[in-house]
Symmetry: C2
Subunit: 306 residues, 2 copies
DNA sequence: TCAGCTTACGCCGAGCGTAAATATG
DNA sequence: CATATTTACGCTCGGCGTAAGCTGA
């Protein structure tokens, strides 16, 4: 279970070819073959079928672990190296689409005033990607969003210990096309909508899975799934009547769709800041700026915006 | 970041000595020294202070990761080997003290009827220990308990993917000495007790941390902490007036203490069964027996006992 | 037949132990 | 000065590449 062997195994399993994995990793085909042979020998069980190259049952189980293990090792290295704390001239930043580009923009403005020379890179990615990136040191800071019970932390993928701090909590809103029969309503409970047509857009809206867990129902079946990262596209799909979606109330809503506040209790949109154990000075400053963007309320911080 | 080096590092850091770690691992002192040197060289930072041997700041960070990584690797191996599925003549079983020895006893009786030759080992451990043991294959099955919101899964240590299934949910009770002013009450809210004297016994009662999270208060300060695994000792401490504790209502209560049902909503005692991805036939049978011990109710299974 | 994985074999370096050197309290 | 870690050094074995062998579509 040498990490090198695991890395090779992952490469072979994902490419479906020993030779492709070899060139990807900078090995010869022979070395890759030996790696897999060694892995199978120590485990005492075959992990790959040959011709065509596919994972065996055992290999599928191993594949599920291997990525996590390699990531965990990367995260450990990044975490240890953070204590050296070289002050970066640049800061790399990632956020999920709904985590509030507006909030980030405001924070960066404040940060620029304090540290004029600082170069900032800003990336958008989905929640897992942000968490993985922050853990492994690719990003210095991450901003993620999701649906949870008030003051409950968001569920993160198993990526090792990360510091999180709540940045904001706000109510949820259902977005509906303006000709929708309910469009005139100001508030509604989610349970009243379990049989509506839904768009599942886990990247740019509340994932239906999260809503389902909160409503404790097995329905909320998606009529359409949108995996893209563009909020405007989702809103156009809603306007065109393809289904409803749930967003934080602060999300911008263009013409053609209406926003109905969700008054299901114990269900809020939450934004959290993710960072490593010891953040660099610039990051620390940014944490301060982001956190102070909204007033604190309650023991776990963050404000509730309606 | 070779796992061998990590293992050596953990041994040195925990024993506080190169030579002790060497004999523990079956290496020479020299090899251990070389391991640590290699680790520090690849990381580019010292992880141990010498004379006395203590982890540096970076070493403390590494230590936090190293155990988890090694455990994760063990868990992966165990998980892969489970697909071979040799039918064990013996089954090894672990449970937390409050997870219901009575329930286990009943299940084992049923199991014995089906499989007379089966040898069963039963161990008691705390929650983390059970989770770690099941993940790494030491135990085939684990039964854990804890406090959570109804139908919320228990929080597990980061130990890799484990299958869990709810076995039971029941209400909580505060146990108080019989001369306590509130002893005659049948029900009480936790908030009314935030300023009481508490005993924090995370192994054999609801951990105060869990209660605090649910009550959303920073108080509930422990007057006494009991880390032992013996429920009777805890109850004697309660009877002697050292403080209150929260238990599931089904816990046996001897003379000298009274039980007051906690009617704080959204707070239940939950018992879950833990097992690996593919359980062996015997384990599968036991899962069935344990799960059918109580009727199912609600989408996530398990019954609510008052 | 041939593309692609496996096996044979030789070389180099990693890693261990023995033993001498060194540092600390 | 005693105890404990580091360094020197030689040996063995693991792991990689080259090249030949094998096998299924």
């Amino acid at each position: 279970m040498d990490p090198h062997l695991l890395r090779t195994f992952v490469a072979v399993a994902t490419t479906g070819s020993f030779s492709a994995a070899a060139s990807e990793l900078g090995y010869t085909q022979s070395a890759v073959s030996q790696h897999i042979a060694a892995l199978e020998q120590t485990l005492g069980i075959a992990v790959l079928n040959r011709r065509p190259v596919t994972p065996t049952l055992a290999g599928e189980r191993l594949l599920e672990h291997a990525g996590a293990i390699l990531l965990r090792i990367e995260a450990a290295r990044a975490d240890v190296l953070r204590v050296v704390g070289e002050p970066p001239g640049a800061i790399v930043f990632a956020a999920t689409p709904l985590a509030g580009a507006a909030r980030v923009a405001r924070a960066l403005t404040r940060l620029r005033q304090d540290r004029p020379g600082l170069s900032v890179t800003f990336a958008v990615a989905d929640r897992d990607e942000v968490a993985r990136g922050v853990a492994s040191g690719t990003y210095h800071l991450g901003l993620i969003d999701g649906v949870a019970a008030p003051s409950d932390p968001l569920k993160l993928p198993d990526v090792g210990p990360l510091r999180t701090s709540a940045v904001a909590q706000e109510k949820l809103a259902v977005v509906v096309p303006e000709e929708h029969p309910l469009a005139a309503r100001r508030r509604i409970g989610l349970r009243a909508l379990v049989d509506a047509r839904w768009i599942d857009a886990p990247v740019v809206s509340a994932a239906l899975d999260d809503l389902r867990a909160a409503v404790e129902t097995d329905s909320l079946r998606p009529a359409l799934t949108y995996t893209g990262a563009d909020l405007l596209t989702l809103l156009e799909l809603v306007a065109a009547g393809h289904g409803l979606a749930v967003l934080p109330v602060s999300a911008p809503v263009p013409a053609g769709v209406r926003r109905i506040i969700v008054d299901t209790p114990r269900l809020v949109h939450r934004t959290e800041l993710l960072h490593g154990h010891l953040a660099e000075p610039a990051a620390t400053a940014l944490i301060g700026v982001l956190s102070s963007t909204s007033e604190r309320s309650g023991p776990s911080g963050g404000s509730v915006v309606e």
